[in-house]
């Protein structure tokens, strides 16, 4: 069983910290996404797992064996891993078949075994017709599939993917997301997947690790990351949320633009500043004022309204000039300049961890 475990992993380049004390456990057969903006340390983490670089501190264990530590690092070729590169890294001087069979030849398998494995993987990746082509003669999506086939044919214990879809156009990217997940479910290797695209992470991952400035900000299943962001960074990065800066009144209420909002999440400390996230489509927008004294209602003015087909996107300015985005049903048409009331249900107002 090849679980992958990072223990207090750090990587410094001089004074710059690329990866800062990252601990993470990936069970056998799980698919984990490292998600974050460029420069957050996700690619460095992946290259540490691959063995291309040595950690400055911490350890990497695979299947209970230490593969990387500051004193000893097993080279990439000794790790029984496969990797999909951002550039695909197909060797231009070899045909599709030669590219895919390379890892089998390195493993010194006999001719017949190589042939049968090659045939099977080419058929799984729908590449049989292209076997004798050179990579330069393939489209982007075909190159991607060759890259996948080459990585999978050696039956790795661990598969690493470095932004594998960033060079594809939008349609193909969506198709390949499901393809990657399908192959993962079929072969059940442990997978670490690096991306900056949250939709990609949501559709493929069992677990998402949101990274920022070399640290893991939040680790959890996609639903949890989406519904219950723990920090302002995660709330903003995952998108679709409003983050309100406010002051706590007591352990579960805050004051925003003259109104009181009840919140969930961590308990608050009175008079301390707090950030609260509310998803755009959880906010209800109405022309009528609520009964006075009702909590979780805010007054504002519509400053912009955009029709998006399946929804209508509002920008509402509160009385204290804070702007909120609201996603409403398309049938509800309120013109810009109108005075409106917003209802932010208490169970959707999530107090975030302090930065």
């Amino acid at each position: 069983m090849a679980s992958v475990e990072l223990k207090g992993l750090s990587k410094h380049y001089g004074a710059a910290v690329a990866v800062d004390d990252v601990s993470l456990r990936v069970e056998h057969g799980q698919l984990v996404c490292l998600l974050g903006p460029s420069g957050c340390g996700k690619t460095t983490t992946l290259r540490l797992i691959a063995g291309f670089i040595e950690p400055s501190a911490g350890e990497i264990e695979v299947g209970g064996k230490v593969l990387s530590s500051p004193s000893r690092t097993v080279p990439p070729e000794g790790r029984k891993m496969s990797m999909i590169f951002q550039s695909y890294a197909l060797w231009p001087h070899m045909t599709v078949a030669e590219n895919v069979a390379y890892g089998l030849k390195i493993r010194k398998l006999d001719r017949a075994t190589i042939d049968s494995k090659l045939k099977a993987i080419l058929s799984t990746a729908r590449l049989e017709a292209l076997a004798e082509r050179y990579p330069g003669e393939l489209s982007g999506g075909q190159q991607q599939r060759v890259s996948l086939a080459r990585a999978l044919v050696v039956e790795p214990e661990t598969l690493l993917l470095d932004e594998p879809l960033s060079n594809l156009d939008a349609n193909l990217r969506e198709e390949m997301r499901f393809e990657i997940r399908r192959l993962h479910d079929q072969y059940r290797y442990t997978t670490v997947y690096v991306t900056h695209d949250q939709a990609e992470a949501m559709t493929t991952a069992d677990l998402i690790a949101v990274m920022n400035k070399g640290k893991v900000e939040q680790l959890g299943p996609p639903e949890e990351i989406y519904a219950r962001p723990r920090s302002e960074f995660v709330a903003r990065f995952i998108g679709g949320s409003n983050v309100l800066a406010a002051k706590a009144i007591d352990d579960s209420r805050i004051s925003v633009a003259g109104s009181v909002l009840r919140t969930i999440g961590r308990p608050l400390v009175a008079n301390r500043p707090v950030a609260v996230s509310v998803r755009q489509h959880e906010i209800a927008i109405a022309l009528e004022s609520p009964p006075s004294g009702m909590e979780n209602h805010l007054h504002g003015t519509v400053t912009r309204q955009v029709f998006l087909g399946s929804t209508r996107d509002y920008t509402v300015m509160l009385d204290d000039a804070t702007e909120l985005r609201v996603t409403a049903p398309p049938g509800q048409n309120i013109a810009a300049g109108q005075s409106v009331w917003l209802h932010l249900p208490a169970e959707q107002c999530r107090a975030l961890a302090e930065e």
Binding site: M81, S87, W91, P135
Partner: protein, 559 residues
């Protein structure tokens, strides 16, 4: 990278030591000897002599006049020609571009010899033709190639192609949109050319001017052939003359220093000029520029281009073939006077031909192999940052660019005429010289080849279980094969035609082809000179053609 393959320190130490021996030793000795007086103490007397003695000051001034004139002429010829080829609908543009490149195959000293055959005051073919046409007496001459003007002309003939290539390539890459934008704002074709195209090309032209200047500054062959009979010296020929009997190496060393300093400064200036090229002519995917319609000027334009090409190409080769196949070099050969006598004489009777050819091939093959391997190793280390301190290697490998051939010759002479490595008089010293001279270009070629091989291609091999060495053999080597072959051919060709360092370092046992041709000048055997020159050009052409054919083969398309 990983610890399991830690040959890095010994490799770095070995390569650095080798480069130091190749570069630091000769330049160091050059400086030491130039600062040493007759009594062995430190002195500036050698430099004092340099700047007061008219036999040094005059060549310095002459050299500067030549370099400035050559530089100006090259720009005046190459810029319009480059523009005609790259930006207009001139007929035969592709052919003319190829022919200009082809004129670079001619070693400059061979060109100078050919122009002697054409325009020496008495025997020159052009002067004879002129006398026949005008009936002038035999002591009158239209051209005198043995003059400052003649020398400037001949150097320009073989220098302007460098400027031409720079300008034409820059104009090729200049995005057409930049000109289209000007047209959209109402500028006429010629206004756009004047206001947009020319200013954008200016930095490249400046860099070209500096290239021409450097070339003229450090050239040895042409001045040795044309200036010495005319009774004047340039810096390079003066340095060479200090090695004639009685040798004065300390003065030669001192005279080399200004050449070295000037070259370093000019290279810096050139890098600055080209460094600003970025905004001007580096384009990604822009539209192809629209050629300018010349209208009735198309005919005159192509005539002008062919006339220019007659100077380095058509006329000299006509003269060389004439001399090679005629019993008397100064007669124009006809169907009944054509003879193979010179060819037979050169290859069967002339005792120095075969040893020189043998030495030349031996050195060319050894230099090309050694140079390509060394450049490959350094390029790998630098491109993959394989060891700490890789930048030092990159710098050392580029440094010889700043050392003129004749200066390196002097430096190597000083370094290896004494123990522990008394290599003077052996082929080894020539080998060191040739490898050193060609290393920068070879390193740059292979360096850019490595940059074209994405590091992920190697990493993909490692991930699939191949060791670093296995990855190099399976993936990197095949991808670089054509680049390495091209570099090998490049060094081979450059070694065959090298004269300026060889002329300082050869002895009677280690004569090479270029030195043999130069030496035969003394005995005046024009027929043999022509045959040997054509042989050299033929070998060069064959090797370049082979390199070009091989280069196109494996597909290195980014996947």
């Amino acid at each position: 990278m990983t610890r399991s393959f830690d040959l890095s320190r010994p490799v770095l130490a070995a390569v650095t030591a080798l480069l130091a021996v190749m570069i630091v030793l000769p330049v160091g000795w050059l400086l030491v000897v130039s600062l040493t007086g007759k009594d062995g103490g430190i002195t500036l007397a050698n430099f004092g002599a340099l700047f007061t003695d008219p036999t040094f000051v005059d060549p310095l001034i002459t050299t500067l006049i030549i370099a400035c004139s050559v530089s100006a002429i090259c720009c005046l010829v190459a810029a319009p020609l480059g523009w005609l080829v790259a930006r207009t609908d001139m007929p035969l543009a592709r052919t003319i571009r190829t022919l200009v490149m082809a004129s670079l195959v001619t070693p400059p000293f061979v060109g100078a010899i050919a122009w002697e055959m054409l325009a020496a005051p008495n025997s020159g073919l052009l002067n004879q033709l002129w006398r026949i046409m005008t009936g002038m007496p035999s002591d009158e001459a239209l051209f005198d190639i043995y003059s400052l003007g003649g020398l400037i002309f001949v150097i320009s003939c073989y220098t302007f192609p460098y400027v031409f290539i720079l300008v034409a390539n820059a104009l090729d890459r200049m995005p057409g949109e930049l000109e289209d934008a000007s047209s959209m704002l109402g500028a006429k074709t010629w206004q756009t050319a004047r206001l947009i195209t020319v200013p954008l090309a200016l930095p490249v032209l400046l860099a070209g001017a500096l290239v021409a200047f450097l070339q003229a500054l450090n050239l040895f062959g042409s001045p040795a052939i044309l200036a010495i009979p005319a009774g004047f010296h340039t810096l390079t020929t003066r340095i060479w003359s200090l090695f004639q009997f009685p040798p004065k190496p300390e003065l030669a060393a001192a005279a080399s220093v200004p050449l070295l300093v000037l070259t370093v400064l000019l290279l810096r200036a050139q890098a600055m000029a080209l460094g600003r090229r970025g905004y001007a002519v580096l384009g990604g995917k822009y539209g192809a520029p629209r050629p300018i319609r010349l209208g009735w000027l198309r005919g005159p334009a192509v005539a002008l281009a062919l006339f220019v090409l007659a100077m380095p190409l058509f006329l000299p080769y006509a003269a060389l073939f004439n001399s090679a196949f005629s019993r008397v070099a100064s007669r124009i050969v006809g169907p009944e006077t054509i003879t193979l006598h010179n060819v037979k004489f050169t290859f069967l009777e002339l005792s120095s031909t075969m040893p020189a050819l043998k030495n030349t091939f031996l050195l060319a093959i050894a230099s090309a192999t050694l140079g390509a391997l060394l450049a490959l190793l350094i390029a790998y280390i630098v491109a993959r940052k394989a060891v700490r301190g890789y930048r030092v290697l990159g710098f050392l490998a580029t440094a010889p660019l700043a050392i003129p051939g004749i200066v390196l010759g002097v430096g190597l002479f000083l370094a290896y005429t004494r123990p522990p490595l008394a290599l003077y008089g052996t082929l080894w010293i020539l080998l060191i010289a040739f490898v050193t001279i060609e290393l920068p270009a070879a390193y740059q070629q292979l360096g850019s080849a490595f940059h074209a091989v994405h590091p992920e291609l190697e990493e993909a091999g490692r991930m699939l279980g191949a060791t670093r060495l296995r990855t190099l053999a399976d993936i990197t080597a095949p991808l670089l094969r054509s680049a390495v072959i091209a570099t090998w051919c490049f060094i081979f060709v450059a070694t065959i035609r090298e004269l300026s360092a060889a002329v300082i370092l050869f002895t009677s046992e280690t004569k090479v082809l270029s030195v043999l041709i130069f030496d035969l000048k003394e005995s005046g055997d024009v027929g043999a000179i022509a045959v040997l020159s054509l042989t050299m050009v033929a070998i060069t052409t064959v090797v370049i053609a082979a390199a070009n054919r091989l280069h196109g083969r494996p597909q290195i398309r980014p996947a």
